[in-house]
C-alpha cells in the first residue's frame, strides 16, 4: 500500500504529493539520467605535459591544471557531499593534497581519475568528521519540520526536487560509505562504471554490487518512511 503507516511521518504540504507516488510527475525514466549530467573526465596530451611539468616543480603548470580541473572536481565533490557549504574548502584540500602527492602519481590511471580519487578520499574524511547516525536522523527529522513549516499550496518542481535531494542525501548519510560513494558516483553523478570503479579503486563488478545494494537500501528506506510505494505498485 502506498500510504504511510505512520501518521507522524507524512504531514504538511508535501504530504499530498508524497503520499501518492504514482501521481507524481515523472522527470525521466529512460535513460535513467540525462546525458548532460554525466561527466567525462579526459586525459589530454596537454594534461600529461602539465603533470610532468608540475612534478618538476613548475607552479605555473600546476596553476593550469588547477584551472582545467577545478570545475570538474567542484562538481564531483558537490555530488559526493550533497551540500554546498563545505565544497569550496574540500576542493581546495583536494588540490593541495594532490600537489603534495604528485610524486606518487604513477600514471597507471589518467591524471583526472587520480585527482577524482583523491577527491573521494578527502570527502571520506569529511564524512567521518561530520557524519554520525544521530546527525543523519536529525537531518531527516529536520526535513519533516521544513515540510510542515512550508505552508499550504502547490509545490513547484524545483522545490520538490530540492526536497527530494535533501531526503536522499539524508538517507545516504546513514549508509556505509563504501555503498554511498559507489551509489553517488554511479547513480547520481552518472559516471561510467569503469570510471567510477577506477576512482574508487575497485572492480566494475564490485562497483555494480555496491551501487545496487545502496539502491536497495535507499528504496527500502524511502518505502519505510512512506515516500515511495513498494515496487510492484509504483512501477
Amino acid at each position: 500500500m502506498t500510504s504511510p503507516s505512520s501518521g507522524d511521518v507524512i504531514r504538511g504540504p508535501l504530504a499530498r504529493l508524497i503520499d501518492k507516488p504514482p501521481r507524481m510527475p515523472r522527470v525521466t525514466t529512460q535513460p535513467r539520467f540525462p546525458e548532460r549530467l554525466r561527466t567525462s573526465p579526459r586525459s589530454t596530451d596537454e594534461g600529461a605535459d602539465l603533470v610532468e611539468q608540475a612534478r618538476a616543480g613548475q607552479t605555473d603548470a600546476w596553476a593550469r591544471l588547477y584551472q582545467l580541473y577545478f570545475a570538474a572536481i567542484f562538481r564531483h565533490t558537490r555530488y559526493l557531499t550533497g551540500e554546498h557549504a563545505a565544497v569550496e574548502d574540500l576542493v581546495q584540500e583536494v588540490f593541495a593534497r594532490a600537489l603534495v602527492s604528485l610524486r606518487d602519481f604513477d600514471g597507471r590511471s589518467s591524471f583526472s581519475t587520480w585527482l577524482h580519487g583523491i577527491a573521494v578520499n578527502v570527502v571520506r574524511n569529511h564524512w567521518r568528521r561530520a557524519t554520525n547516525t544521530k546527525a543523519a536522523h536529525d537531518r531527516l527529522r529536520a526535513i519533516h519540520e521544513v515540510r510542515d513549516a512550508a505552508g499550504s499550496g502547490e509545490v513547484d518542481r524545483t522545490h520538490l526536487a530540492r526536497e527530494r535531494a535533501k531526503i536522499v542525501y539524508a538517507v545516504l548519510a546513514d549508509m556505509p560509505e563504501h555503498l554511498r560513494e559507489a551509489f553517488v558516483l554511479r547513480d547520481l553523478e552518472g559516471l561510467a562504471p569503469t570510471e567510477a570503479a577506477a576512482q574508487l579503486g575497485i572492480s566494475a563488478g564490485n562497483l555494480a554490487v555496491r551501487a545496487t545494494r545502496a539502491r536497495q537500501r535507499l528504496r527500502a528506506e524511502l518505502e519505510k518512511l512512506g515516500w515511495l510505494a513498494p515496487l510492484e505498485e509504483s512501477s
Partner: protein, 366 residues
Amino acid sequence: MSVDHDDMSEVELDARPDAALDGWLADVSSAVENDLVRTNVPWDFAAMLARAHALDPSVVSAQAVAEAEQAEPVISLAQRRSQRATRDDPAFANLVEDVRAANEHDAALRTAAAAAGAVPRRVAPGFTSGRVLGLVVALAAVVVVGLGVVRGVQVLTERRNAPADAAVHQGGASSDALERAVIDDGEQESPSAPTRLVPEPIAAEAIELPTVVEPPVPIVAVRTPKKGTRPAKPAITEPAVPQPTLTERLAALDGAAHAAWKAGDLGIAEEKFEALIALAGTSRLADLAYGDLFTLARRRGDTKREVALWKRYLAAFDRGRFSDDARAGLCRKSATDKPACWRDYLADFPEGSYRAQAERDGGSAP
C-alpha cells in the same frame, strides 16, 4: 507486498525498472545541477598553495605561496565557461530572457513612438531607469488609446517573426550551430531536438536594440486604422536582406571572438567581445563576456586595461559573477589606500573569495 530480493541476483535486480525511484534520483541530480549552474564558484589558487605548503613545506615553498598571493586574481576561462548555460538549461532560458526583455522593451517604446507619430530615435547608451519609467507610462497611455494599432503590430510581428524564429528554435542547421557556438563549450551535446526556450517570440529582427553599435535596422512604421475596420496592414520598410536575429548576432560575435582568440588574434577577440557587450547590455551574456575580456587583458599583460575593465565592469555589474574578483583586483592594484580598499571589500563581500587576504591586508579601521 514487498519484492522478494532473494529470487534474483543483485545485478539482475539493478536492471529491474523502477520508475518511481528513478524519478527521485533524477530529481536529486537535477537539484544538484541547478545548484551548480547558479553557483559562482569561488576559487583561490594562492590559498590552495598555502594549504599545500602547510601539508608539506618541502614540496611547496613559502616563497611560492607569497608569489601566488601577489599575483592577479585568476579568472578561470575553463571554469567560468563551464558554467555557461547550454540551450537545455534553465539558466540559458534566463539569459535569453534578459536579452529579449531588453529588446521587447525597446520595441514597445519604438512602437509607441511610431504610433504617436514621433520620429524613432536610437536610444543612447546612457539609458536610465527614470527615462525608462517615463516612457513606459507614455507607452501605457498610447496602448489604451490605440489598441487597434497594437493589434496591427502584433499581426505584423507574428507574421514576420515566424520563419526566423523557427529557424533559430526548430533546428535550422546554420542557426542551430551558431546558437550552440554561443552557449556550448562543445563538451556535451544534447541528442534531442532543441526546444523553444522562450514562451513568446519577440521579433528581434524587426527592432533595434538599446545599445547597438552596428548599423540601424529599418523601423516598422504603423498607421492608425479607421474605427470599425480591420487594422490596416501596416506599411513597412522591408529590408532587402533579412536581418539577423539578436541571437544570431550575439552568436556570431561570440563565435568570432573565440575564433580570433583561438587564432591568437587577441585584439580582434577583444573587439568582438566589446561589441557583444554593447549589444547584450547588462544581460548575463555581457557579464560572461567581461570575464573573457579580463582573461584577455591579463594574457596581454595590459594592467591598465585590466584595471579599467574592472572599473567598467563594476559600474555595470555591481553584483555580477566577477564582482568579487574585480573588487579584489582593484584593491591589489590600489595605489592609494590599500587597507581601506580591502576593508571596503570585506564589508561588501564578507564571504568573498579573497576574504583571507582582505583580513590580512585590511588592517584595522582608523
